[in-house]
Structures are given as structure tokens and as C-alpha cells.
């Protein structure tokens, strides 16, 4: 698979960070505000062999926490947690396909929502779990759509699967 240079990946994360904090944070449609950075972490962790998703997820997660959270590190920890399933499962799936990537987003979304709720709950926030549960269907749909778009934009070359009878080892 074609590699992406670190600076290009960092630019993408930076743009996503700006969109997340200045636009998406204020656009709540039916109570749902999608998390673009979380989607990027999932897609990058799934698609690329390098640790773009994890490392850039930590860097921009910390910036997001500094910018918009009252608990420092809370979004970052969910980005790290969300980046681990794609690292584990990507060997089992054909990364060229979009469905496994969407599946990773569907795993990452509840991790993000409930981890954030749980951390605030432990620190005395009165926010009820109903709100986390209520937001989940909308977030799952919006994240699936965003991941689908990102996947289609970023996948440009064939990734050969080990079960492919023409598989020669390595990546194309």
C-alpha cells in the first residue's frame, strides 16, 4: 500500500482539529455532534502500517482536550483506545474494503462516548447515562458515513490479502 508521509497525515489531522473545534463542536443536529478526529484515528490506524492513528491521535487529542474539555486527557485516552481495535483486527480483514473500516468506527464510537461519560461521572458530573445512550445511534450513523468518505478518499491502491491466491507477500 502506498505510504503517506507523516507531515501529510499531520496536516489532515490539523485540518480535522480546526473543523472539529470551530465548526463541528457547534453543529449539533438532533443532539449529535460527530467526532471527526475519532474517525481519522480509526481510518489511519486501520489503513496504514505506520502508527499514524495512534501518534497523531495522541497529539491532536491532547490539543482537543486543552481546547474544549474540562478534564485534560479524556478525549486522548479514548482516541488511543479507539485506535487499538483497528491495529488488532486489520490483519484479519482486506483493508481495501470499506465495511471493516466502518465496523472499526462502530466499535470506537461507544468506547469514546461511554469512556467520556464514565470519566465525567466519576469526577462528579451530574450528566446522566441516558444522554450518552441517546446520542449513540446518531453518532454511530454519522461516524459510519464519515469513515466511509475518508476511507474512499484515502484508499487509492490495492492492498493484497494473504488469502489472495496471487499474494506475493508484502504490500503492493
Amino acid at each position: 500500500m502506498r505510504k503517506m508521509r507523516y507531515y501529510k497525515a499531520a496536516i489532515l489531522f490539523f485540518i480535522a482539529f480546526l473543523i472539529q473545534t470551530t465548526i463541528l463542536g457547534g453543529v449539533s443536529i438532533r443532539g449529535v455532534s460527530p467526532n471527526l478526529l475519532l474517525c481519522l484515528v480509526v481510518v489511519f490506524s486501520f489503513l496504514y502500517d505506520e502508527s499514524y492513528g495512534l501518534i497523531l491521535g495522541i497529539v491532536f487529542g491532547l490539543l482537543l482536550d486543552l481546547s474544549t474539555q474540562t478534564l485534560f486527557g479524556i478525549q486522548t485516552i479514548t482516541f488511543v483506545a479507539a485506535g487499538i481495535p483497528p491495529l488488532i483486527f486489520r490483519r484479519l480483514f482486506n483493508r481495501e474494503r470499506v465495511l471493516p473500516d466502518i465496523l472499526m468506527a462502530l466499535i470506537a464510537t461507544p468506547i469514546n462516548v461511554f469512556a467520556v461519560w464514565f470519566a465525567y461521572h466519576l469526577t462528579g458530573s451530574p450528566v446522566k447515562i441516558d444522554h450518552a445512550v441517546g446520542a449513540l445511534p446518531g453518532l454511530l450513523i454519522s461516524h459510519a458515513v464519515i469513515v466511509c468518505i475518508l476511507h474512499l478518499l484515502l484508499v487509492r491502491t490495492i492492498i493484497r490479502h494473504k488469502r489472495d491466491r496471487k499474494y506475493l507477500g508484502g504490500t503492493a
Binding site: 453543529v27 443536529i29 443532539g31
Partner: protein
């Protein structure tokens, strides 16, 4: 140990999670103390966000309107007109000197001095907004250099926005009144004797209870801050009652409130210093 060295990505992720858990715990337990490193980083982030903030508000409004029904938009416009009319009426009902004196005495009794000083307004731009289902936090471009500090009150032309939670050079984080973590003491604008407490309902509105179970509250009543608690001074418009009812026989009278401020369209705010 060898197991960890053989799995570097897993080790990095696990180490990051442990470190972040320490950060979260520290930011919770030490939230009352200044964090110079965090403040400096936030100043840089705010400087980067600033050029995009105005354009972002424009995009935000267009996107929100595109997903909002025509009827709701029309109703919103009607409500804005109604709010404007009610605010004119409110001028007539504003706390008179006697009532203010009573509130000052009450503040004295509570040991706070929120009403004693005079406030000056400091304008600020909204740089970022975290308006998820669970939290509502704004970042503004005025910080400690202008005198903003923890619990500095933030308003705009329509009414109360919230209070400063964290401040750094060139930026402050504001917890909006529609955040569930923010409790506000209120009173009826046309009957200051009826007091209550409200907070965000998790859906962009406010919900609260009247402290006096016999309080006469009806749809359309305007609510203003009571000043009790010491954070918010008395007399700032909070919103309009859209529903008042007992949830069960023994419960206090519950009210649903439409905030006076349209949070998704906030561009400029003012700090009470």
C-alpha cells in the same frame, strides 16, 4: 518485560493510557490551581483558531439551518421577536432599589460580595465551541491578561451565557448555562419573590425547579438570575418558561426553560469584570 519489547505498538498504547489516566486524575484534583504549561499551549491553540473562528460561525449557522425544519426556523424567528418584546417589558420589572437592597442583604448573609462591586464589560470573540450532547463549553479569545478568572460571568446582548472555568493568556474556557454541570439560581422577572435553581437539560435547553412549591409560574414567564450563590449577579436574563408542572405529587414544581441566548450562533460575548 520481553513480551512488551516484542510488541512496541501495544506497549506505546498501554503506556499512553496509563500516562493519560494520571493526567485526567491530576486535572480533576488540581483543577483549582493554575497550569502554566497548559495555559501556554492553550494560548497558542487559540491564536491558531482565531482566523478560522468567524468563518466557522457562518458555516455552523448554514449547516444547522439546513437540517432544521422550515416551521422550526419560523417559530425561532417568532420567539426571537417575543424575547425582544419581553425584554422591553422586563425593563419595567427590573429589580427596584428596595429589591436590590434586599438581595445585597441576602448576599451579606451568604458571605459573598457579588453584588457590591461595579462591573465593566470586556468584549470577546468565540473561538471554539464543544456543543455535544453531554457538554457545552466555549473557548473565547480573552484571558487572564484582561482580568478574566475562574467564575467570571459571561453574557451577550440576549442574556446569560455562562461562567469562566479555566483561563490562560489570550483565551478562556466558558461553561455554558446549558451545560448540565452548571447550576444557576433564578427568580421570576415579574415576581422576584419566587426563586428556583436550574441547569442544562442535555438537549440545548434548561430545566429547573421552583424552591417555593406555591410559586405561580406560567408559560412565557421570563427568568432572571437571582444572585444567590455568589457566581451570577442578580438581574441577568436567563430565558423564558416553556413548561411548568409537577412531575409527581410530592415533587417540587419543575420548569422547562428556553434560554434567551441562541448558543449555536454566538460570535461575540462580554465578560463582567
Amino acid at each position: 518485560m520481553k513480551w512488551f519489547w516484542e510488541r512496541p505498538k501495544f506497549t506505546i498504547a498501554a503506556a499512553a493510557i496509563v500516562l493519560l489516566l494520571i493526567f485526567i486524575f491530576a486535572s480533576w484534583r488540581l483543577s483549582e490551581y493554575d497550569n502554566p504549561a497548559g495555559g501556554a499551549a492553550r494560548s497558542v491553540i487559540s491564536a491558531v483558531q482565531k482566523p478560522f473562528a468567524a468563518a466557522a460561525v457562518w458555516v455552523r449557522e448554514r449547516v444547522t439551518n439546513a437540517f432544521t425544519d422550515e416551521d422550526i426556523l419560523r417559530e425561532n424567528e417568532e420567539l426571537k421577536e417575543k424575547v425582544s418584546r419581553l425584554q422591553d417589558e422586563l425593563i419595567k420589572y427590573r429589580l427596584d432599589e428596595t429589591e436590590l437592597e434586599e438581595l445585597r442583604n441576602l448576599q451579606d448573609a451568604l458571605g459573598t460580595d457579588a453584588l457590591r462591586g461595579e462591573y465593566t464589560l470586556k468584549a470577546a470573540n468565540v473561538l471554539a465551541f464543544e456543543g455535544s450532547d453531554m457538554f457545552n463549553i466555549l473557548t473565547i479569545d480573552v484571558g487572564e491578561e484582561a482580568g478574566a478568572g475562574r467564575d467570571t460571568v459571561v453574557v451577550n446582548g440576549d442574556g446569560l451565557i455562562g461562567r469562566v472555568f479555566e483561563t490562560a493568556k489570550g483565551s478562556s474556557k466558558v461553561v455554558a448555562i446549558i451545560d448540565e454541570n452548571n447550576k444557576i439560581g433564578f427568580q421570576l422577572a415579574d415576581n422576584p419573590g419566587f426563586l428556583g435553581v436550574c441547569s442544562g437539560d442535555g438537549d440545548g435547553g434548561l430545566t429547573g425547579v421552583m424552591l417555593d412549591d406555591e410559586a405561580k409560574v406560567k408559560e412565557g414567564d421570563q427568568l432572571i438570575t437571582s444572585g444567590i450563590g455568589g457566581v451570577y449577579p442578580a438581574g441577568i436574563v436567563i430565558g423564558t418558561v416553556i413548561e411548568a408542572k409537577h412531575t409527581d405529587e410530592n415533587a417540587l414544581l419543575a420548569v422547562k426553560i428556553q434560554p434567551a441566548v441562541y448558543f449555536k450562533g454566538i460570535k461575540k460575548v462580554a465578560l463582567l469584570l
